[in-house]
């Protein structure tokens, strides 16, 4: 054996169990909620695109723009990003301030939080803490979750042992973690601290997420 046990620490007597949980106030939760109209643009891109689709056709007659939008089928963050870009271009071309259509602060914050996740994953790969394959799986999961819950806050992420990655949502009461591995299914674990209710599953892919998992994720949506 490489390591010799030298002595044990302290006493084996077990005092009364006490764990002072001093959870920090979540800064994100103190942020004001974005105006409904603006955040809905990102939340439900496909629906919104359909609504907005008709108006420019009548008002502007920009058929090229419409054809771009109509080709967007995937209800995802990328779709929302492209849509916002096109929308801004459209209104800029018309000499109408985009601020009156979409609050630029909201757009910037929404995009920044998502880009932060992307940049963070890139950084982990650069540092050699996770593999690019893990990064792809993690980003696929993140995209999948955003598709279902566009207002989901960015996850807490940390590299784990053996190049795996932990991807977690935690509000102090509910803890949900995804442990992503390169060569085995992603392990999902949920703990409700107040009741010790637990749930666990393995995800082989993210195409069809279990209903129970989706319900749990819903707990973290602002």
């Amino acid at each position: 054996m490489n390591h010799a046990i030298m002595e044990k620490i302290g006493t084996e007597t077990m005092p009364v169990f006490k764990m002072p949980l001093k959870y920090k106030k979540n800064e994100a939760s103190t942020k004001s909620i974005a105006p409904v109209g603006a955040i809905q643009d990102i939340s439900t891109p496909t629906t919104y695109i359909k609504i907005r689709y008709e108006k420019p056709e009548v008002d502007v007659g920009n058929r090229l723009w419409n054809s771009h939008l109509s080709s967007l089928r995937e209800d995802s963050y990328i779709t929302a990003k492209i849509y916002l870009y096109l929308l801004k271009c459209l209104y800029r071309d018309r000499g109408v301030g985009t601020a009156c259509i979409l609050d630029p602060t909201i757009i910037r914050d929404a995009l920044a939080s998502r880009q932060a996740v992307e940049i963070y994953f890139d950084g982990l790969v650069t540092q050699g803490l996770v593999t690019s394959e893990i990064q792809k799986i993690a980003y696929r999961l993140w995209e999948r979750l955003l598709t279902r819950y566009p207002n989901l806050p960015e996850p807490d992420v940390a590299p784990s042992v053996d190049n795996s990655l932990v991807f977690a949502f935690d509000d102090g009461i509910n803890h949900l973690e995804f442990e992503i591995f390169e060569r085995k299914p992603t392990e999902v674990y949920y703990l409700k601290r107040s009741t010790n209710e637990m749930w666990e599953d393995d995800l082989n892919n993210f195409d069809s997420l279990p209903e129970q998992l989706l319900n749990i994720i819903g707990l973290f949506v602002k």
Binding site: M1, N2, H3, A4, I5, M6, E7, K8, I9, G10, E12, M14, P15, V16, F17, K18, M19, P20, L21, K22, Y23, K24, K25, N26, A28, S29, A116, V117, Y120, L129, P153, E154, P155, D156, V157, A158, P159, S160, V161, D162, S164, V166, F167, A168, F169, D170, D171, G172, I173, N174, H175, E177, E187, Y189, L191, R193, N196, M198, W199, E200
Partner: protein, 147 residues
Amino acid sequence: MDRNVVRMWYRTSLHNGSGSGALVAAFELSSEDKNANQPYLSVFEKSNTTLDQAKIFTGKNLALSLSVSEVRELINPNYPDYRLNICWYRKTVTIGDQIIPDERPGAAGHCGIIGLLRPPNLSRTLWKWFRVRLADIAFSNNPITVL
């Protein structure tokens, strides 16, 4: 006297949420740890090892503090007889094919949390509870970034 140990991890969390979140990653045994004769999670006792020394030993810059009593007193309500423990372990270094004691300053504080290798009769669900609770303790003790 209750001692305090520190687990070093990467300060790469994306953000601080309201709970311990992804800090659970710091309390997972690596494959190498699991295959050791006596699997344990390396930590450093704070009166014998400074945070700077712990950073040098591990190459990690986030210090997660745990008191020994808090670790020993963790009781999973669904598995009340199972306890974690912390013991001193001599820190060693490998030079060529030789394993020798690490004599560097601070090496004397090397310890290990034992009990984190999942017993065959313990479900993964119950076992992961311990990781979350260890992370909760570390989070409540305010993780420190070692610059």
